[in-house]
């Protein structure tokens, strides 16, 4: 609780969220970050599920797009943290927000699982069912993260 209060009163946090240009920039970075993150992961997952970019191997495509997942994630995390910090005491008790963060963590875990295993799955000719299912879960987790993200202001009025 005290850390939340400290965060909320921190000079930098107050000022970056307090002026329109910087506060808007945080939002913009957050959107662009998650577009990149979810878009890249979605392409990889859709390919593993066998419904996208079939002219390329899943491994090659994953190699190409996966770095953008990390780039997007870093952008979303930094901007997200700075926005969260301005209302830290509110978010402390906000279960919808907590659930969003858990979904985000699970999303990263599943994206990494897909990336780590795509080479092995590719070698089997067609991607096995367990691979397609894992990719589907990965995609579903990110869509759920977005939903929980918009649910925070919609259901709890915060942010």
């Amino acid at each position: 609780m005290r850390f939340s209060q400290w965060l909320q009163n921190n000079w930098f946090i107050v000022h970056v969220n307090g002026s329109v240009p910087t506060a808007s920039s945080l939002e913009i970075i957050h959107y662009v970050g998650f577009f990149l993150l979810v878009g890249a992961t979605a392409i990889m997952d859709l390919r593993v599920m066998g419904v996208a970019a079939k002219r390329q191997s899943a491994t090659q495509l994953a190699q190409q797009v996966f770095p953008w997942m990390w780039t997007g994630l870093v952008l979303a995390l930094i901007s997200g943290f700075l926005m969260y910090a301005s209302d830290a005491t509110e978010y402390l008790h906000n279960s919808v927000f907590h659930q969003k963060i858990y979904l985000c963590i699970l999303g990263v875990i599943f994206a990494v699982i897909v990336r780590r295993n795509v080479g092995k799955w590719d070698q089997q000719g067609t991607i096995p069912m367990v691979g397609k299912f894992t990719a589907f879960v990965s995609l579903a987790l990110w869509i759920a993260t977005i939903l929980w993200g918009v649910n925070v202001p919609a259901l709890t009025g915060v942010g």
Partner: protein, 165 residues
Amino acid sequence: MHHFVIAFARWVQSTRLGVGILESTWAFPYVQLTHFTGLSLFVGTNLALDLRLMGIGKRSQTAAQLADSLFAWNWVGFAIGITGGFMLFSTAALTYVANPSFDIKLSMLIPAGLVLHIINQQKARTWGQTPETPGIAKLAGFIELLLWLSVVTAAVLIPYFAAEP
């Protein structure tokens, strides 16, 4: 033209779609979800291709190959995004058409972005044949990236330009 826009907005806002979303206790987040999921596919893949055209990113494939792989889902994303966008618009069409930020977003930035995007997608086939893209490709990718960033900016600024009722 202005009269037509207002009349159209008034009509859209009165449809069952617009009223229904606004009156429902749960629909609005799902409409936002549709818009953002579609945009993640569309803008996300646009950014990936633009950055690749600019020479940033892994070179295991050519930009032409990347453009080819992303093509179908890029436009599926656009369709989903525009569907969600129209549904959002329908909930408060009159306030949106009176909003300068929304106006610039929809009438200038998005058309410009789309035109350049289509050009880049087509030209990626020739520009992206080699691992290193030509200078013009780098410039085109960079401008498209700026355009999509400006679309997001205009969208984020919409609330700040809402007219007082």
